[in-house]
């Protein structure tokens, strides 16, 4: 008596549903994605109980690294282009249009004004290894402080863009410093800000549970 063997075939799974889900997720992530900006400095922010989120408006971020070096980053290509145009003509940096475009697409930067041209000419892969010295701050004379100059002009550029209708809001000022940054370095930045009448700004913190409520 021959055995009644069931017919064997490779199990076939209908992939359509899985494919649907996969592409739905893919679409979601693509639309919500915001490319992580290239980090020129690693900052481990201190934790706080604050639950306020970073606003959607354009931000001007001043970063203070562990060693007290100061970096800057601002949102908006139009503003950055306008800013570098302004800085270039004022301080005779001799940047061409290509270099200006590079600045507009650059993430954070932390080089003195004089080194900017050289820094922009580097291919992106080499910028990470460039010995950045941070944006110089002169606490004695605010008119000589490059940081104050950058912030002031960046805000002016953003204001111009706002008038032209290219951006909606003025910059939200943000200070981002590392947990272990010595206070005098942060103090210099805060003093620079108050010197140019920026008295309201935000400190970036990471999440921490608040105290237990009784």
């Amino acid at each position: 008596m021959p055995k009644n063997k069931p017919k064997r075939s490779a199990p076939s799974i209908d992939m359509t549903a899985m494919c649907d889900v996969a592409f739905l997720l893919l679409t979601f992530f693509m639309l919500t994605a915001k490319a992580k900006p290239q980090e020129t400095v690693v900052i481990d922010t201190p934790s706080s109980i604050s639950e306020t989120k970073l606003p959607d408006a354009g931000t001007l971020t001043i970063m203070v690294g562990k060693d007290g070096k100061v970096f800057m980053d601002m949102a908006g290509q139009h503003t950055r282009l306008s800013l570098i145009d302004d800085i270039n003509s004022r301080y005779q940096l001799g940047l061409n249009d290509q270099q200006k475009m590079k600045f507009a697409n650059l993430g954070s930067f932390g080089v003195p004004r004089a080194e900017l041209k050289k820094y922009l000419d580097l291919p992106p892969s080499e910028r990470a290894s460039y010995p950045v010295s941070g944006i110089p701050i002169d606490t004695a004379d605010i008119n000589k402080s490059e940081l104050a100059d950058w912030i002031h002009n960046a805000r002016l550029a953003q204001f111009r863009m706002k008038q032209e209708g290219k951006v909606k809001d003025e910059y939200v000022m943000i200070v981002k410093a590392d947990q272990t940054t010595p206070y005098p370095a942060v103090q210099k930045v805060i003093n620079t800000l108050t010197d140019i009448n920026v008295n309201k700004f935000n400190l970036i913190t990471s999440m921490e549970g608040g105290p237990k409520k009784e």
Binding site: T32, A33, T52, T180, M207
Partner: protein, 210 residues
């Protein structure tokens, strides 16, 4: 594994007409799903989905006019000197100020601030004030007497100490606090607490409004 179904092709049937091949409409989705998930992984890893938290900070204006300076009651003032090694020195008022030290734990700085608040409340009674609630409607509150906290980070302190101190202000609901620079007097005071704080209010006002 899913497979491409290939049994759809029809051969010649006996004596039948030649029919066009019927291809199966089933497509193997596996490579497509693979690609889909690969891209998902890529986007998940490169996105910064979570927005960072922020802590708003308002600094006093640089140019203060002398006539705008409003004296506060000395007994309501608590000065925190943020020192190195996560230590906090604090003193109350200015006359016969006694320097004490604590840390940033819940039993440390928080207790100091809450004790001070209780003390001020006991001395001055509760005070009502108006505050806008979440809907933007002003309402009266009687959360107790306010204290004035001066946060003065020293050169030895780290940025984390400042944020921790500001956190305590939020936790204890301190309404009036300000970040100031440490004066030379206070630096001496930390080194030599026994000799006391020789603080001259007029000199300080002069220095702040020059």
């Amino acid at each position: 594994m899913a497979e491409i179904a290939q049994d759809g092709g029809g051969g010649h049937k006996k004596g039948g007409k030649v029919r066009s091949k019927k291809m199966s409409t089933r497509i193997d989705f596996t490579p497509m799903v693979d690609l889909g998930f690969l891209l998902i992984t890529f986007f998940m890893l490169t996105t910064t989905l979570a927005k960072p938290n922020i802590m708003a900070l308002v600094m006093p204006e640089k140019d203060i006019k002398k006539e705008d300076v409003e004296p506060v009651k000395e007994s309501k003032v608590l000065t925190l000197l943020l020192g190195g090694n996560d230590k906090v020195y604090y003193y109350e008022g200015i006359t016969d100020a006694k320097l004490d030290s604590t840390d940033f734990s819940a039993e440390g700085l928080r207790t100091v601030i809450l004790n001070k608040m209780d003390k001020v409340k006991g001395q001055f009674g509760t005070e009502t004030y108006k505050k806008k609630n979440k809907e933007g409607v002003e309402e009266e509150r009687t959360d107790g007497s306010y204290i004035n906290v001066l946060i003065k980070p020293t050169k030895e302190s780290r940025y984390k100490n400042l944020v921790d101190a500001l956190d305590e202000m939020a936790i204890c609901k301190v309404r009036y606090y300000v970040i100031l620079d440490v004066s030379e007097l206070e630096e001496k005071f930390i080194k030599d607490p026994a000799s006391g704080l020789k603080f001259n209010v007029d000199e300080q006002v002069e220095a702040a409004t020059k």
